[in-house]
Amino acid sequence: MKDRWRVFANGIFGENPIFRLVLGMCPTLATSTAVANALGMGLAATFVLVCSNVIISLLRNIIPDEVRIPCYIVVVATFVTIVDKVMAASAPGLHQVLGIFIPLIVVNCIILGRAEAFASKNSVSRSFMDGLGMGLGFTLGLLLLSIIREPLGEGTFLVAEDFGFEGLRVIAEDKQVLMFILPPGAFITLGLVLAGINKLVAKLSTVWAQKGGE
C-alpha cells in the first residue's frame, strides 16, 4: 500500500508535470487566466489521465509493440471526446472558454508520456495512482499560476459564471495589471514561479544533505 502512495506523491511533488518535468505547457499557459478555468482544465486532464492509464495498463499485454502508439492515441482520444461532450452538456460556459484546449488534451505530452513510460509497464492499481498523482500535480500547478494571474490581471478572485459565483474583487477596477492575463504575462509568471521552485528545491536538498542520510 505504501508503494501506491509513493507513486501518487511522486506525481504531485517529485515529478510534478508542470514544475519538474516541464510538460503540457500549452494548456498551462493558456488556461491559467482564472482559477475556475484552471480547475476545469486540470480536472478534465486528470480524468483522461486516470482512465487512459488504467485502460492502457489493462491492455498492456494485448497491444503489440509495433502499433502501441496509435493504440494509445485512440484510447486517449476516446476519453478526451467523452470529457468534451460531458463538459459541453454540463458547463457550457466553461466549455466555451477552454475551447480547443479540451480536444487538445489528446496531444498533451503528459498523457502520452505516462502511457508510454508508466502504464505500459505497471500494474493497473499502480497506473491508477500514477494517473491520479500526475493529474492532481498538473491541476495544482495550474491552480498556483491562476491564483497569481487572476487577482493581479483581472482584479477578481474565483469568478465562476457557470455556477453563478460572482467572485471577489481584490483590486479596484482599472488598477489591475492587465499584462498578467495577456500572453506575455503567462510566460513571465510561469518562468518566475519555475525559478522560485528551482531555488526552493535546491535549498531543501542542501538542508537534507546536511542532515545526512536521514
Binding site: 500549452c26 502508439i69 525559478a195
Partner: protein
C-alpha cells in the same frame, strides 16, 4: 483574395500560434537552443500544418455528411499521425538531404498541438472557413511558428554564455524570454491590417 491576405497576416503577426494562442509551446521551448535546428523544425511544422489543414478539412466534411461529427478529434489525430509517417517515408526515399535535416523532428510533430489545433480552429463554425481559407490558415500558422521559433532561437543562442543565477537557468529564463518576444508581438496587434493592406 483580401480575406486570404487577412487570414495570412493575422495568423503570423496578430494571432501568432505560439506567442498569442499558446499552441506548439513544447517544440518552441524544446528545439530552440540552436538556430539551425529551429529552422528545420519550423519548415517541417509548416509543411505538416499545411497538409493537415487541407486533409482534415475534407475529412471533416465527410464526417459531417455521415453525422459522425463527434469523431472529429479522434479522426484528426489519426490522420495527422499517418500524415507525419507518410511524409517521413516520402522524404527518406526521394529527398535524403531534407530527411537528414528534418528526420529527427518529424515524429515529434504528431504531438505538436499547433497541428491538431489548426485543424480544430479551421472547422470552428464561427470562423466559417472554406477549403482554401483553411489551407492558407494552416500554412500561415506554420510560417508564424517558424518566425517565432527562429527569433527565439537567435535570442537563446546569445543567452548561452550569459551569467545567470542557478535557479534561472534553462526553462525559467527561456520562458521569461518568450514573454518578452510575446510583448514585442503585442505591438503588431495594434496594427489595423485592413488599413495597412489598403482595403
Amino acid at each position: 483574395m483580401t480575406d486570404l491576405l487577412l487570414i495570412f497576416f493575422g495568423a503570423i503577426f496578430i494571432n501568432n500560434f505560439v506567442l498569442a494562442r499558446f499552441l506548439g509551446i513544447c517544440p518552441f521551448l524544446g528545439v530552440s537552443k540552436k538556430l539551425e535546428t529551429a529552422v528545420g523544425m519550423g519548415l517541417a511544422v509548416t509543411f505538416v500544418m499545411t497538409m493537415a489543414s487541407a486533409i482534415t478539412f475534407g475529412v471533416n466534411k465527410l464526417l459531417l455528411r455521415f453525422n459522425l461529427g463527434y469523431l472529429d478529434t479522434i479522426t484528426f489525430i489519426l490522420v495527422i499521425a499517418v500524415l507525419v509517417q507518410f511524409v517521413e517515408m516520402i522524404l527518406r526515399k526521394y529527398s535524403p538531404g531534407l530527411y537528414q535535416a528534418l528526420g529527427i523532428y518529424l515524429p515529434l510533430i504528431t504531438t505538436n498541438c499547433a497541428v491538431l489545433g489548426v485543424a480544430l480552429i479551421n472547422i470552428d463554425p464561427s470562423a466559417g472557413y472554406n477549403f482554401i481559407q483553411a489551407t492558407v490558415n494552416g500554412f500561415a500558422g506554420g510560417v508564424g511558428f517558424t518566425l517565432a521559433i527562429i527569433l527565439f532561437a537567435g535570442l537563446r543562442e546569445r543567452l548561452e554564455f550569459a551569467p545567470l543565477p542557478k535557479a534561472m537557468e534553462g526553462f525559467p529564463i527561456a520562458l521569461i524570454l518568450a514573454g518578452l518576444v510575446s510583448i514585442a508581438f503585442l505591438g503588431f496587434s495594434g496594427f489595423r491590417l485592413q488599413a495597412l493592406l489598403g482595403l
